[in-house]
């Protein structure tokens, strides 16, 4: 019998509760332990600051190690200012599979590959060709009103990050969240969002919403599996995330500020779109969704 996360048994609920408490406590300890180290690292290196000339703000310490792998890439010669940057949020988070930096999953290949498709499909869009990651606390973030995040089940925003991100979203920024699975990761995101935008509820986005029709007509929400399961024809779900959802947070004027793609992994579908073993229908759908997100973000 298939596991149904919506109606859990009483015992399962108890187990999940205890596990969540333990995990929460552990996460809090990790966060407390990591915090003192954050301050001295902030902006210590001029080279870090020189990351395409924009990283003036403090970097999230948990993300530092992963971030540094890319920080030292030379500034790309294509330096003219563009209308659109596919900006990935480099957020603070819990330990993820042994290293801090869940924000960087699939980075930068997914981002770059998405840009290739995006520029072909939206040929009038003046888009930056490459990956573009920024921490929330960087003031330059406000110059890039489109933001993309993955693996937010491990996200743990610091108060400065939270303040900046809240301001960013309310000022007109648009945030696409992707690639997180199951009720445990959902609970983490929900907690983060309740701290970030407490007055705005998370709601299911209906299929007749313009975000599903502004460029492509998306009639059905498809569960996009990760590359491993996609290539080998395994189950499309992970953990207990059996049903894909597209949820969102609207401001008081009805503008969509946050789009949450839960129990699906659009990023992998972009990243592995050229892989002959990865099913094309998933890539096809992921690109449609991604293009619609960009069109919507740049028009609403």
């Amino acid at each position: 019998m298939r596991y149904d996360p919506v109606v859990p048994s009483r015992r399962t609920a108890l187990v999940v509760l205890v596990a969540a408490l333990l995990a929460g406590g552990a996460a809090a300890l990790v966060a407390r332990g990591a915090a003192p180290a954050a301050t001295p690292q902030v902006g210590a290196s001029d080279e870090r600051r020189a990351f395409r000339g924009r990283h003036r703000g403090p970097l999230p310490p948990q993300a530092m190690r992963t971030f540094e792998r890319y920080l030292y890439r030379p500034v790309h010669p294509d330096e003219v200012l563009r209308e659109f940057y596919f900006t990935r949020l480099a957020y603070s988070g819990h330990m993820y599979r042994g290293f801090a930096g869940s924000w960087s999953i699939d980075y930068p290949k997914a981002d770059r590959q998405f840009m290739v498709g995006l520029k072909r499909l939206l040929d009038q869009l003046d888009a930056y060709d490459y990956d573009h990651a920024l921490p929330a606390t960087d003031p330059e973030l406000f110059r890039f009103p489109f933001l993309y995040s993955v693996e937010v089940g491990y996200m743990a925003l610091s108060p400065p990050e939270r303040d900046a991100l809240r301001r960013y979203l309310l000022a007109g920024g648009f945030w696409v969240i992707d690639d997180f699975w199951g009720s445990w990761e959902w609970a983490n995101l929900e907690r983060e969002l309740s701290l970030l935008l407490p007055e705005y509820p998370i709601v299911e986005i209906p299929l007749d919403h313009p975000i599903f029709h502004c460029f492509y007509d998306v009639e059905e929400i498809i569960q996009v599996p990760n590359v491993g399961q996609g290539r080998y024809g395994g189950p499309t779900w992970e953990q207990d995330g059996f049903t894909p959802h597209v949820r969102g947070i609207f401001d008081e004027d009805g503008r969509l500020m946050v789009v949450i793609n839960w129990n699906t992994d659009l990023g992998d579908a972009w990243e592995w779109a050229e892989d002959e073993w990865y099913p094309v229908r998933f890539s096809h759908y992921a690109y449609q969704m991604g293009v619609n997100f960009v069109v919507y973000a740049m028009s609403h």
């Binding site: 659109f84 869009l125 009103p145 920024g173 004027d253």
Partner: protein
């Protein structure tokens, strides 16, 4: 000057103009006098013959030798002239057989206390004294020679039996209409002329010229007698208020208020704007020391829907002579309606997203957008059931012309067909719409506008940019500031307080632009500019110019959205929203509707004839002459009157009708235009009827008006104390029962003076020559 002339020539120039010159002596006397003259001349020239003392003559004395005979000859000439009995023949009226109409200004302004000639110091007092009939008064002098008829006027003139009927309390003084009415009243009588006793304050809406032409055609000269001082000593007046007749609710209304003053040069006064008793703005105005008038630009928000009467007033100064002219009222209709704007964008970009967002909460603006996402793939937004749907850019005038404004984003000129470009230009020039050109990498010169019809729209000079030049260079770090013309302009007023708004601009985050716009077209005005290290001259950021009926605006930066998203801008800051709301409201302000109706003014006196003018156009904004146009006028009492409007013939699509507004209060006009039974459209307008006290504005004696009336009708302007002159002028009038009269000229003082001068001159020269 006239006095000197009269002293020398015995009579005033006027009599010489009216009369005919002649010699009254018998004919033989003239011949004899001429012969005598000739002999004398001959004798005088005998001086020239050499005689005694010739040897003593010097060369200088010799040169003067010809003068004595000349002087002598001229003196003899003068005597001969006198002997010939020169005379001026004048046609003068037969006493008591001719009429004179005395037309007295009975209006309120005559109560002004600025006439020193009167015992009580008022203009009215001076008039009453002149018409008292006492010995030596003007009426008395006139009555000696004429049959006098008294008339009093306000709006029109009517007969009065005595000055006791004068009240000096009428609200109006329409001089032209009154004079014509007086002329009509006395028609059929032998009329020498009309005497107008007035301060010259004319409150008639129509120009005086027509009435003066009528009087001239009737041969009725008007003699004007001015009362009051030609200049008040201390007065402030709200002379003129220029306000829009209609604005969108929530808009900033810009009004030009002209304040005149005498005796208050250098003083600073408070100009208050009241909306229904509530002060909505207070502007300090300083009068120039040297000049008399100053024009203040006042701005305030019109937040309440409906017909609003905005009052502009200056508090009375302690020593001011007249306080009633310190305020004026303007009727402004604040409309709650949605102006449609079509936003055509050539590429997805944040500028257009944030612009739309900035105005999305503005209930008076409805921005329909069409954005090109991919080649030939457009994303249309905000179309509603009332707007025609289309893909891309409209191809029919009806589709485009239903909008009041168009925003053209980053779209290259080569996208458009020639007809579409022409249609966009016509949208501004013929339809009267507003076109806003936004900066972007495909706009202006960078979008290849130069050499196409779109170039006509640009207020900045465009240059040819070959398409193979690739991506245009982006000029960054543009610090934007106001130009002198931009200070206080409604589009740049980002704060309620003007000074605060002016100071805000340089503090805003810098922007960037692809447009290298440094030169304005002739007739264009720049409101914002920016300095850039990449360009030598200041960059034009915001400029506008008129195109036919409409206007085009250029805003060159491509990232004003940073003023919404920048980390330096507080979240609650409304600068970006306000910029675009103001800008788009300005874009669609004064954009005509298909059907329009206006009264010739916004305010009238009770009993005035109101002329209603409607303009009727079809969907493509072509004027329609064959239409049935009816105005339904709702009066203040609620009663409705229908007035059919007829094609004026003078202009295409213009329909005119008149209506007499008697009730004071607010009137509403609704015009219904049909063509062959089909409704073309409906338009509404409002006007108010109230006591306006127009004549209290410019309350000093208006000599220019009085002089013009006199000169154009063949009369003259005389002073209050010049009754004799007035009687004399009227007596020699060419109208009435006349008799010929010859007046001697031989005894003119100038002849005597000439004689003395000539003989004296001769004597002096002779002494010099040693001949005396």
């Amino acid at each position: 000057m006239v006095g000197l002339f009269e002293f020398l020539f015995k009579y005033r120039p006027a009599l010489f103009e009216e009369g005919r010159f002649t010699f009254v002596s018998p004919g033989w006397m003239q011949v004899a006098a001429l012969l005598a003259g000739a002999l004398l001349v001959f004798a005088a020239f005998s001086y020239r013959r050499p005689g005694a003392g010739a040897a003593d003559r010097t060369a200088g004395a010799d040169r003067l030798r010809w003068l004595p005979p000349v002087f002598r000859s001229l003196a003899i000439g003068v005597l001969v002239f006198c002997l010939l009995q020169p005379a001026l023949v004048l046609s003068t009226v037969v006493p008591q057989e001719t009429f004179v109409g005395v037309v007295v200004d009975d209006s309120r302004s005559m109560a002004m206390p600025d006439e020193a000639a009167a015992a009580d110091g008022t203009r009215a007092g001076a008039v009453l004294e002149a018409l008292s009939g006492e010995s030596g008064s003007m009426l008395d002098r006139l009555a000696e020679r004429f049959q006098v008829r008294l008339l009093a006027f306000g709006r029109s003139a009517e007969r009065i039996e005595s000055t006791e009927q004068l009240r000096f309390g009428r609200a109006d003084s329409r001089i032209g209409e009154a004079l014509v009415a007086a002329s009509d009243e006395l028609a059929g009588l032998p009329l020498s002329g009309l005497v107008l006793l007035s301060d010259g304050a004319d409150s008639a809406p129509a120009e005086l010229g027509d009435a003066l032409l009528t009087l001239k055609a009737a041969g009725t000269p008007v003699y004007t007698v001015g009362v009051g001082r030609p200049r008040l000593r201390k007065d402030i007046e709200v002379s003129r208020v220029v306000a829009p007749r209609r604005v969108l609710e929530g808009s900033t209304v810009e009004v030009e208020v002209t304040l005149s003053q005498t005796g208050f040069g250098g003083r600073t006064v408070d100009l208050e704007v009241e909306d229904d008793g509530r002060i909505v703005n207070l502007e300090q105005v300083t009068f120039p020391r040297g000049g008399s008038a100053v024009t203040a630009r006042v701005m305030f928000a019109a937040n309440d829907e409906g017909a609003r009467e905005f009052r502009f007033q200056v508090a009375g100064q302690p020593d001011e002579e007249l306080l009633l002219n310190n305020e004026r009222t303007a009727l402004v209709e604040v409309l709650k309606r949605r102006e449609r704007i079509f936003f055509f964008e050539g590429e997805p970009r944040d500028e257009s997203k944030f612009l739309r967002r900035a105005v999305s909460q503005d209930e008076n603006l409805h921005v329909v957008s069409m954005t090109r996402q991919a080649a030939n793939k457009f994303y249309g937004m905000n179309f509603d059931e009332d707007t025609r749907r289309f893909e891309g850019f409209p191809t029919r005038r009806e589709e485009l012309f239903e909008y009041s404004g168009v925003i053209l984003g980053s779209m290259e000129a080569s996208f458009f067909t020639h007809d579409q470009m022409r249609m966009l230009v016509d949208f501004a020039s013929q339809r009267g719409g507003g076109v806003l050109l936004l900066g972007g990498r495909r706009a202006f010169s960078e979008g290849g506008f130069a050499g196409t019809p779109l170039a006509e729209l640009s207020p900045v000079v465009l240059y040819d940019r070959p398409a193979d030049q690739g991506r245009p260079e982006l000029m960054t770090d543009l610090r934007i500031d106001l130009t002198p013309q931009g200070r206080g302009h409604p589009a740049t007023l980002l704060r309620d307080d003007r000074e605060e708004a002016n100071e805000l601009w340089p503090t805003l985050p810098p922007l960037s632009a692809y447009q290298r716009a440094t030169e304005l077209k002739a007739g264009a005005t720049a409101l914002l500019q920016a300095e850039s290290p990449m360009v030598r001259d200041p960059m034009i950021v915001l400029a506008h110019h008129r195109i036919g009926r409409g206007r085009a605006i250029a805003f060159t930066p491509h990232d004003s959205w940073h003023w919404q998203m920048s980390a330096d801008i507080p979240l609650e800051d409304q600068t970006h929203e306000r910029l675009w709301r103001q800008m788009l409201r300005w874009l669609v302000s004064y954009v005509p509707d298909r059907i329009e109706v206006e009264a010739d003014r916004d305010r009238f006196e009770p009993g005035s004839t109101v002329t209603l003018r409607a303009t009727v156009r079809d969907e493509a904004f072509q004027e329609v002459n064959r239409a049935q146009v009816v105005a339904a006028i709702e009066q203040p009492s609620g009663e409705e009157v229908e007035v059919p409007l007829d094609w004026s013939v003078e202009r295409d699509g213009e329909f005119v009708g008149t209506f007499t507004a008697r009730e004071p209060g607010l009137y509403r006009v609704e015009v219904d235009a049909r063509s062959e039974g089909e409704l073309l459209g409906v338009a509404t307008s409002r006007f108010a009827v109230d006591e306006l006290n127009e004549e209290l504005f410019g309350a000093a004696r208006r000599d220019s008006v009085l002089k013009r009336i006199a000169s154009e009708t063949g009369g003259r302007q005389v002073g209050l104390g010049q009754a004799d002159r007035l009687v004399e002028d009227l007596s020699v009038s060419s109208e009435g029962t006349l008799v010929r009269e010859a007046r001697d000229l031989w005894d003119m003082p100038i002849l005597f003076l000439a004689l003395v001068a000539l003989l004296g001159g001769e004597w002096a020269v002779r002494r010099r020559l040693g001949m005396a």
